[in-house]
C-alpha cells in the first residue's frame, strides 16, 4: 500500500524517536509574527540559547499593525512596543524581518506563499493556528504555541506525534457564486468543529483540482476551524506554475529538479487513509454562519436551524448562539441587517478574493448604514489590486481601502466592532467577541457574499447580483 503526502513529508523530516514516544521533527520553514514570538525570544535569552538555523526563520508584522496611519512611532504605544520588540529580536538573533514599510510585509500566511518561501514537501511551523494555510502547496504546516516557537528557534525541531489522515474528496463542480470559502464552511458544518482533532485533512477531488492556489489556501486555512491541525493539497501543475519566478523559489535548473522532487512527494494513488469523506461540490450554495462557531453555517437560502434539527451534541452551543446573536430559530438568514462589512484576513485577503468582491461591487454603492472596509492581506496584494484599479472600484462604492494586516479579523489594532454591531466578514472565526467588541457579532461568508451584503445592507444571495 502506498503512502500519503503527509507520511512522505513526515518521514523525510523525522530525526529520531524521543523517549516520550514523540518524533523529533525537523522544520523546514519557520515563520514568526509580533504577537506570539516575544516571549519565546525572552526564554531564549534567559537560557543563553542561539537560533540554530536563522536562515530558516522569517519574521513579519501583521496582527497589531494599524491599517490606516502607519507613521512611526505608532499612535498606539503598546503596538509600538511590540513592533520594537520584534525589530530588536530579529536584529539580535539575525532573522530577516519584513517590517511595516517593507514592500514584502503582510499577513504571515499570505507572504510565505507569495515570496515562494512556502514550497511542497516542506514542514512549516508558525506560532499561529492558521499555519495550515501553507498546506495548499503540499507542505505539512501546523500552528504551534510560544514554548514550541522557542523549541524551533533553538533547535529547528518540534517534538510531535504524527497525525491520522482523512481524505476529503470534493466531487462535481461548483456552481456560479459558490467559492472555496463555501466548500470549507460546509466541510466544517458536516464534520463538526472537533471532527478533525487528531487528523490532517487531505483535500482532493475534481473541485479541488480545479481551484487556483489562492482558493486552495482559503480551504487549507480553515482546517483548524474543523479541529484539524494541518490540511493539505497534493502539489500539481497549478502549484508549480504559481511558484515559478517567486523571490525565494528555486531558480534556473534548480526549479525543474525541484518540480521532479515535489511530484514524488504527492500521495500515491493507493495511499492509505484513516478515513475518507465525500462532499458533493455541485450541491453547495453560498454559505453564511449564523452562530458562534464556524461549524454553525447554513446556505443563504436556509433558515437558522431549530434545536430539533440539530444533533444532540450541537444543541447547547446552538442555544448559546441564539442568545448571543439574538437570532430566532427558524428565521431566514437572508435579510439579516449588517452594520459592518470586512473583506480581508489570511482566509480571504488575496488578489482573487478582491477581484471577486470588486466584480460584485462594481457600479453599486455601499448601503448607507454600513461601514465597509477592504484590507489587503499583503503589501503585494495591495499593489496588484491597485494596478488593476480595484481600489478605485471599492473606493467609489464607499469602501475604505486600507494597508495590509490582520485588522478586523481579530481586532488587535484599532479596527474593531462597536457594541452589538453585526459584521459580514470574510475572515475565519465568529467566536464571541472575536472582532473586538465583547458583544459584537460576526457572520462568516465568502468575500463576494460580503460585498453583496455591503451593497444591500443585509445578508443577500450574491448569485442574484452576478451576471
Amino acid at each position: 500500500m502506498g503512502k500519503s503526502l503527509f507520511y512522505k513529508v513526515w518521514d523525510a523530516h523525522a530525526v529520531r524517536e524521543l523517549p516520550s514516544g514523540q518524533t523529533q521533527l525537523f522544520i523546514g520553514l519557520h515563520l514568526i509574527h509580533e504577537v506570539t514570538s516575544p516571549q519565546a525570544f525572552q526564554m531564549m535569552r534567559e537560557r543563553s540559547l542561539k537560533v540554530a538555523y536563522p536562515e530558516r526563520t522569517f519574521a513579519t508584522v501583521d496582527h497589531i499593525v494599524p491599517t490606516d496611519i502607519r507613521t512611526r512611532p505608532l499612535m498606539d504605544p503598546m503596538a509600538e512596543e511590540m513592533l520594537g520588540a520584534i525589530e530588536e529580536n530579529s536584529r539580535e538573533f539575525d532573522i530577516p524581518l519584513f517590517n511595516l514599510h517593507d514592500d514584502r510585509q503582510g499577513i504571515v500566511h499570505i507572504i510565505g506563499p507569495e515570496l515562494g518561501l512556502t514550497q511542497p514537501g516542506m514542514t512549516i511551523a508558525c506560532g499561529d493556528s492558521h499555519t495550515s494555510t501553507h498546506g495548499a502547496f503540499g507542505a505539512i504546516a501546523f500552528g504551534i504555541g510560544t514554548s514550541q516557537v522557542r523549541d524551533v528557534l533553538a533547535t529547528q525541531c518540534l517534538a510531535m506525534h504524527p497525525l491520522k489522515v482523512r481524505r476529503i474528496e470534493v466531487t462535481g463542480s461548483l456552481t456560479n457564486g459558490v467559492y472555496a470559502k463555501d466548500v470549507i464552511l460546509n466541510v466544517i458544518r458536516r464534520l463538526g468543529v472537533k471532527g478533525g482533532v487528531g487528523y490532517a485533512y487531505e483535500y482532493a477531488g475534481p473541485v479541488i483540482d480545479g481551484l487556483s492556489m489562492e482558493e486552495r489556501m482559503s480551504i487549507c486555512n480553515m482546517s483548524i476551524e474543523g479541529g484539524a491541525r494541518a490540511g493539505y493539497i497534493n502539489p500539481d501543475q497549478t502549484t508549480f506554475d504559481y511558484l515559478a519566478d517567486r523571490a525565494y523559489s528555486p531558480s534556473n535548473g534548480g526549479f525543474d529538479r525541484a518540480v521532479d522532487w515535489w511530484k514524488t512527494m504527492a500521495s500515491d494513488a493507493d495511499a492509505h487513509y484513516d478515513d475518507v469523506f465525500e462532499l458533493d461540490g455541485a450541491a453547495l450554495e453560498p454559505t453564511v454562519t449564523w452562530g458562534i462557531t464556524p461549524g454553525q453555517g447554513v446556505y443563504v437560502t436556509e433558515r437558522v436551524p431549530a434545536l430539533r434539527d440539530l444533533r444532540d451534541d450541537e444543541r447547547d452551543v446552538a442555544a448559546e448562539a441564539y442568545e448571543y446573536m439574538d437570532f430566532d430559530a427558524g428565521s431566514p438568514i437572508a435579510g439579516t441587517p449588517i452594520d459592518v462589512a470586512f473583506i480581508g484576513s489570511c482566509t480571504n485577503g488575496r488578489i482573487s478574493d478582491l477581484r471577486e468582491a470588486a466584480s460584485v461591487v462594481k457600479g453599486h454603492s455601499v448601503s448607507a448604514n454600513v461601514k465597509a472596509l477592504v484590507v489587503p492581506g499583503s503589501a503585494a496584494v495591495r499593489r496588484n489590486a491597485e494596478s488593476e484599479g480595484l481600489h478605485e472600484i471599492f473606493r467609489e462604492a464607499g469602501f475604505e481601502w486600507r494597508e495590509a494586516g490582520c485588522s478586523m479579523c481579530l481586532a488587535m489594532n484599532p479596527d474593531k466592532l462597536q457594541h452589538r454591531q453585526i459584521c459580514a466578514s470574510s475572515s475565519n472565526r465568529n467566536f464571541k467577541g472575536r472582532q473586538g467588541s465583547p458583544t459584537g457579532r460576526t457572520l462568516l461568508m465568502s468575500p463576494a457574499m460580503v460585498a453583496a451584503a455591503a451593497v444591500c445592507g443585509e445578508v443577500t444571495d450574491v448569485r442574484a447580483m452576478l451576471t
Binding site: 537560557r47 511590540m82 447547547d316 472565526r429
Partner: protein, 198 residues
C-alpha cells in the same frame, strides 16, 4: 541551562467547573490582552468578557484557591495562543480535566507542565455536580495511575501516552531533549533537497 523541567505525577486541590462545549481561546483570553511582550499578569484577565456578562465561577468566592479546572468538550479550540493556558495557569490552575481538548491547546499545556486529562461526559457531569454541591472537596489527579479521585468518586482518566511520559519524567520542556539531537538534525537537513539546493 537548557530547560530542565520538574516532574508532574499527581495534582491535588479543590475543583472549579467551567461549563460549556467549544470554549475557544478568544473566550479564555480576549485578543486585547495579547498586546504584551510577556505573559506576566495574564491570570487576572482569564475569561474576562464572560466574567463581565455572567456569574462566572472564576469570580465565585466558593471556588477561590481551586487548582483543578473541570471543563466539557473541545475546550481551548481556536487560536494557538499560549496566552490562553498561561492565563489559566497564572490563575492558579495546575491541572485541567475535560471531556476533550483542542489539540494545539493541549500541546501548549503539556509544554508548560500543565496536565490536561480527559474523562467520559458522564464522569465530568458527576464531577461538576460534586464540586458545585461542595466546593471544598479535595480532588486528586494521579497521572501514574491515570485516575481521578474526589471523595468516594473514582474516575479513570485518559491522557495521550507521550504527554503523560513527558510530565512524569519531567521532559515536558522539550528544548533540552531536542538540542541533544543536534548531529542527527544536521544529517536530516543535509538530505533534504530544498536545503541542499535541489
Amino acid at each position: 541551562m537548557n530547560g530542565a523541567s520538574s516532574t508532574v505525577t499527581r495534582v491535588s486541590g479543590r475543583g472549579i467547573p467551567v461549563r460549556g462545549n467549544d470554549v475557544d481561546t478568544d473566550r479564555i483570553i480576549p485578543a486585547r490582552y495579547l498586546r504584551k511582550i510577556t505573559f506576566e499578569g495574564l491570570g487576572e484577565f482569564a475569561f474576562e468578557d464572560e466574567r463581565k456578562s455572567t456569574d462566572h465561577p472564576f469570580d465565585d468566592a466558593r471556588y477561590r484557591g481551586a487548582s483543578i479546572l473541570v471543563v466539557n468538550a473541545n475546550f481551548g479550540c481556536g487560536s494557538s495562543r499560549e496566552h490562553a493556558p498561561q492565563a489559566i495557569m497564572r490563575r492558579g490552575i495546575r491541572a485541567i480535566v475535560g471531556e476533550s481538548f483542542a489539540e494545539i491547546f493541549q500541546g501548549n499545556c503539556t509544554a508548560m507542565g500543565l496536565p490536561c486529562v480527559t474523562a467520559s461526559a458522564a464522569s465530568i457531569q458527576t464531577l461538576m455536580e460534586a464540586i458545585e454541591s461542595d466546593p471544598t472537596r479535595e480532588i486528586s489527579v494521579d497521572l501514574e495511575a491515570k485516575t481521578l479521585a474526589c471523595v468516594d468518586l473514582g474516575v479513570e482518566v485518559r491522557i495521550p501516552d507521550g504527554d503523560r511520559i513527558q510530565l512524569l519524567e519531567g521532559t515536558w520542556d522539550a528544548t533540552g531533549m531536542l538540542l541533544a539531537g543536534r548531529e542527527a538534525v544536521r544529517c536530516v537537513a543535509r538530505n533534504l533537497p530544498y536545503i541542499s539546493g535541489f
